[in-house]
Amino acid sequence: MQLSSVELKLLRRFRKIYTIIAFLVSLAMAAVLLLTVFNLPAFGKAGNPAENEVIGRYIGKGLEETGAVNIVAAVILDYRAFDTLGETLVLFSALVAVIMLLKDEPGVFTRRYRERSQFEPEKDQIFRSVAALLIPCLLVFSIYIIVNGHLSAGGGFAGGAILGATFILYNIAYGIEKARRFLNEKSFLRFITAALLFYCIAKGYSFFTGGNHLPSVIPLGLPGSIFSGGLILPLNITVGIVVACVVYGAFCLFNRGGL
């Protein structure tokens, strides 16, 4: 099919007008944003409007109320745990949408798979050796980040992303058949739904015990030790499982349309 000369002319004219308008819009937006930034309070100065009594409340009372040393973890997994539940569900629904769009019939490999497979390393000895060295270290590192979420920087999201990347590395280095031994479609869905269900039940439970000024039945533990912070440690683990499953599942779906 070819464009007729009238259509071509119209298209060119549209492109010209579009470019001019887009240029003006971008310029205007950049100018407005820069002017706003010039009028913002100075960067990093104490006493800016962003620094209000909320910081004092969270940092002054966070440790005694949640038992977590890391105040960001206390905010996202205790004070605002329902918000984090929503985030986890956003990730899960994104994965469901990707599954709906890209999943193939079982046993049928599409053109996508056949085109890709010729570029993949087949029994690449150097890659496999490096992966064999890297994967255990990455696994330990990701688990360390997840279970230390309430003690240091990190948590379920960061550690889960590293865990998912480790699974992806294993998948590329050793092939999907070996990866299916521990993470096939069935176990994958089991992990992710169990993690989400546990999150819902745990947070619903703590809402009735720890919320509304009621005392929580879960001990907060000694601040700074691993088993402290009440529900923050198990919630970090569930978030880590969900994030790792979503990262790895999205990779598998984009790579060959199925786990």
Binding site: M1, A22, L40, I55, L63, V98, L101, L102
Partner: protein, 124 residues
């Protein structure tokens, strides 16, 4: 009102990044490049939010023993907000990439005008 032209360099960097992403989104006809521009815009917003929480000379909000004074730590709230933004950004990117992949499988091109031209006459 005073202007902070040279103290707000982090926010200026965020605005420049945002404009780069926005122009990428507007001027490129390739759908993949539009998604890249979208991600650059996301990054600019994360940088801006993280910069808003920073207070010079203070520690990260991880409590150290014997230092419970709130005046020693930076603002933890923007850090928690950035996390939400990152998660939504990742989800939207995955969904958009899946849609683009399906479009490519059907029409064999990523160019927006060509796809619009090829869909002309498809009235299902």
């Amino acid at each position: 009102m005073e202007f902070h032209l040279f103290t707000n360099y982090v926010e200026i960097a965020a605005v420049i990044l945002f404009s780069v992403g926005f122009t990428t989104l507007l001027f490129h006809q390739n759908l993949m490049k539009k998604i890249i521009g979208f991600n650059i815009m996301d990054t600019a917003i994360f940088l801006f939010l993280a910069a808003k929480g920073y207070i010079a000379g203070r520690m990260a909000p991880i409590l150290v023993e014997g230092a419970n004074d709130p005046a020693l730590y930076i603002n933890p709230v923007p850090s928690a907000l950035v996390l939400t933004g990152i998660v939504v950004s990742v989800s939207v990117t995955a969904f958009a990439l899946a849609l683009v992949l399906r479009l490519y499988e059907r029409y064999g091109t990523l160019h927006l005008d060509e796809i619009l031209y090829l869909t002309r006459g498809e009235h299902d």
